[in-house]
């Protein structure tokens, strides 16, 4: 379970201080799916960034099974991100210098490779990889560069990259924003089925009603970041 109390993030805009996020309380049980909704500027992405440990909150607390996230140092945050977090960006953010296969392997390396030498040669890993590739339907795309793929294919690769390390917390920031309905459904099917199978927690920041419909829980943020 992840518990948030009084979480706050502020940014300076010239002389003014803007509250990007103010979340008095939230609880996310393990294995639940959440849609984080709200207008632009309500702090949806900021919440995901704080949960991923990418940015530090200016106030409040995030309790996790691993400890109090807001008190983690840089090394602990890096460890949290590499092991527990599967992050999916709005613009896919694949590394174009690498092939599809190498992008996914990088995702695995940054999690498992730090700690286990030869991890990618184990039968267990190879089976998991193959299963993931088949589930995402990207087996035929392995040697292509991301720029040669369609948007839907790129997002499926991004999902595979995020899920290869079997994270306990999947954070998806507008994953279907640039996809058509068919691909949107496909991506959400993949995410929700993985989370159900792995008992992982899913938080999806979204504007899209279709995406929202895949999540059994909703947290609404308002302008100024209030929940």
């Amino acid at each position: 379970m992840i518990t948030i109390q009084g979480l706050e993030k502020r940014y300076k805009d010239g002389d003014q201080e803007i509250v990007a996020l103010h979340l008095p309380y939230a609880e996310f049980d393990r294995g639940t799916q959440w849609a984080v909704v709200g207008p632009s500027g309500s702090g949806k992405s900021t919440l995901l960034h704080c949960l991923a440990g990418i940015i530090r909150a200016d106030g409040g607390q995030i309790k996790t099974g691993e400890g109090i996230l807001t008190d983690f140092d840089e090394d602990a945050l890096q460890s949290w991100r590499s092991i527990e977090i599967g992050y999916i960006f709005q613009d896919f953010n694949l590394i174009d210098a690498l092939t599809v296969k190498e992008n996914i392997e990088l995702g695995a390396y940054l999690s498992l490779g730090h700690y286990v030498s030869g991890y990618n040669k184990t039968e267990q890993f190879q089976e998991r990889l193959q299963h993931l590739l088949e589930t995402m339907d990207i087996v035929n795309l392995l040697n292509k560069r991301p720029s040669a793929l369609s948007r839907g294919e790129q997002q499926r690769v991004a999902v595979a990259r995020a899920l290869i390390k079997e994270p306990s917390l999947v954070l998806a920031d507008e994953p279907t924003a640039s996809l058509d309905e068919e691909n949107s459904r496909r991506v959400m099917d993949l995410l929700t089925s993985y989370c159900k199978q792995s008992n992982a927690t899913l938080l999806v920041a979204t504007h899209d009603p279709l995406t929202k419909s895949y999540c059994s829980n909703v947290i609404t943020l308002t302008k100024g970041g209030h929940a």
């Binding site: 960034h49 840089e74 590499s82 992050y87 960006f89 953010n93 210098a97 392997e105 940054l110």
Partner: protein
């Protein structure tokens, strides 16, 4: 993964990467080439002078004497009487051996060196074998038999039994002495020096060849000689001088007229009388000791230079002092002449090495700046990797790895280019002057390239560190 990622990142921007590699390569290549050439030429020139402990020749330019006698280049500076050879040989306290050399003719541009069989006993040092070793055939035993150098056999397509006419002077386009054939009786082993391009023959060949061909007035002198050697003979052979005919139809540059015209002993004019009086004159002229000519055929003859092997260094210095008082001849240390030449060349080398070092430094600065700017363009990718769990040390390693490929690759390619250019120049010098330069596989240029690579690697840490201070939050 780090190696693969670093490689992929530089391959993703091929033009920029190639530019940086070329920049590094050219800088390293210049330094490697300058250094290698300096070392190689020095080694080649020193190696060539090793058999020549001392050289005695006519007064004049010591550089020209060495260039002509050791490197078979340039024109002879003049002649000295053969009695100098006799005098040196008689001085057994100071001189171990004295071998005469006479120049003036060529075949296909290869210098014909008139000498004596004692040249085959010369060694560069006591511990080394003979300098000139006949590997095919035999040494010359009589006039107009030749032993040719290793390169002459290959390039002029001569073998044992081949015959040819010599050409007057040092140019292959001179007038041929077509009245007499030379016959190849031996071929030398590769000596790794200019005498690979020599044609050795009995010194009498030179005298006889010109004696037969030239009937020009013996009043003619060779540039650089203060007193024509024929003055010795002219005092005793006035009749012969009067009947001398002018011979205007050939080039006399470098031509050793005096060697043939002085007191031939074979003419029909007062033959025996001339020879005796000439011997008396020659003996008297030598001054200190009474020197008896070793061979009557050498009476009144002249040579271009004498290779002298001293008994020891102290004796060499004493000989030097003696010749400083001589008006007819000079004694030089060929190795010293080379050192002086290099002192002049070394100024250029001293200038070019810092320039090469500066170029490497500039190229490293350019690479560092380019790496930093390029990495700024990859901050978004770095942000993605941070979100995926990459540590700061991972990002730094990737950055340094990318740089390392460029720096090390550039240094290696630069070393290869420098070595290849050196090998090409060495080959050209080998072909044209038979100067054998040092091997292309010298450790110093490798050290230059390695040091440049290490400095480049260390320098690549700077942009990686600067990037660590950048906030990635803006990319999320």
């Amino acid at each position: 993964m780090i190696l693969k990622l670093g490689w992929r990142l530089i391959c993703h921007k091929p033009l920029q990467s190639i530019f940086l590699v070329v920049l590094m390569a050219l800088s390293v290549a210049l330094s490697v080439l300058v250094f290698s050439l300096g070392q190689g030429i020095h080694q080649g020139l020193v190696r060539a002078t090793e058999p020549f402990s001392l050289l005695v020749g006519a007064k004049g330019s010591s550089n020209q004497l060495v260039l002509n006698s050791v490197f078979l280049q340039d024109q002879p500076i003049g002649n000295i009487p053969y009695t100098e050879v006799d005098k040196l040989r008689a001085n057994t306290k100071m001189v171990k051996a004295a071998v005469p050399l006479a120049f003036g003719d060529n075949y296909a541009g290869y210098r014909i060196v008139g000498t004596e069989s004692a040249i085959f006993d010369v060694k560069a040092s006591q511990t080394m074998p003979e300098w000139l070793r006949v590997v095919e055939g035999r040494k010359f035993e009589k006039p107009f038999e030749v032993v040719i150098g290793h390169d002459v056999a290959k390039q002029a397509n001569l073998q044992i039994g081949s015959k040819f006419h010599s050409i007057h002077g040092v140019s292959a386009k001179g007038k041929a002495h077509d009245h007499q054939d030379y016959t190849v009786v031996g071929i030398l082993d590769d000596v790794g020096g200019p005498y690979n391009q020599a044609i050795l023959t009995d010194i009498e060949s030179i005298w006889l060849a010109h004696e037969t061909a030239h009937t020009k007035s013996t009043k003619e002198t060779v540039p650089g000689v203060d007193k024509p050697v024929e003055n010795v003979a002219s005092k005793t052979e006035p009749a012969r001088l009067e009947v001398a005919e002018d011979d205007d139809d050939h080039d006399h540059d470098g031509h050793d007229h005096d060697a043939t015209n002085a007191g031939t002993g074979n003419t029909n004019v007062g033959n025996t009388t001339v020879a005796e009086s000439t011997v008396q004159q020659a003996t008297a002229v030598q001054g200190n000791a009474q020197v008896v000519p070793s061979n009557p055929k050498t009476v009144g003859r002249a040579v271009t230079a004498v290779m002298v092997e001293p008994v020891g260094y102290a004796q060499a210095m004493q000989l030097m002092m003696q010749f400083q008082r001589s008006k007819e001849a000079q004694l030089v240390f060929p190795a010293q002449v080379i050192v002086q030449l290099f002192a002049m060349m070394g100024q250029g080398e001293k200038m070019w090495l810092p320039v090469g070092g500066l170029l490497i430094l500039i190229s490293l600065l350019v690479m560092m700046t380019s790496s930093y700017l390029s990495s700024l363009g990859r901050l978004r990718e770095q942000a993605i990797m941070v979100a995926m769990g990459a540590s700061k040390s991972f990002l730094m390693k990737v950055s340094i790895c990318s740089q390392a490929y460029l720096v090390v690759g550039g240094a290696f390619i630069g070393w290869a280019i420098g070595a290849a250019c050196y090998a090409g120049i060495a080959s050209m010098l080998q072909h044209s002057m038979a100067i054998s330069m040092g091997s292309v596989w010298q450790w110093q240029p490798t050290v230059i390239a390695a040091v440049a690579a290490v400095i480049g690697l260390l320098a690549s840490i700077v942009p990686a560190v600067l990037l660590q201070r950048k906030s990635l939050a803006q990319y999320f």
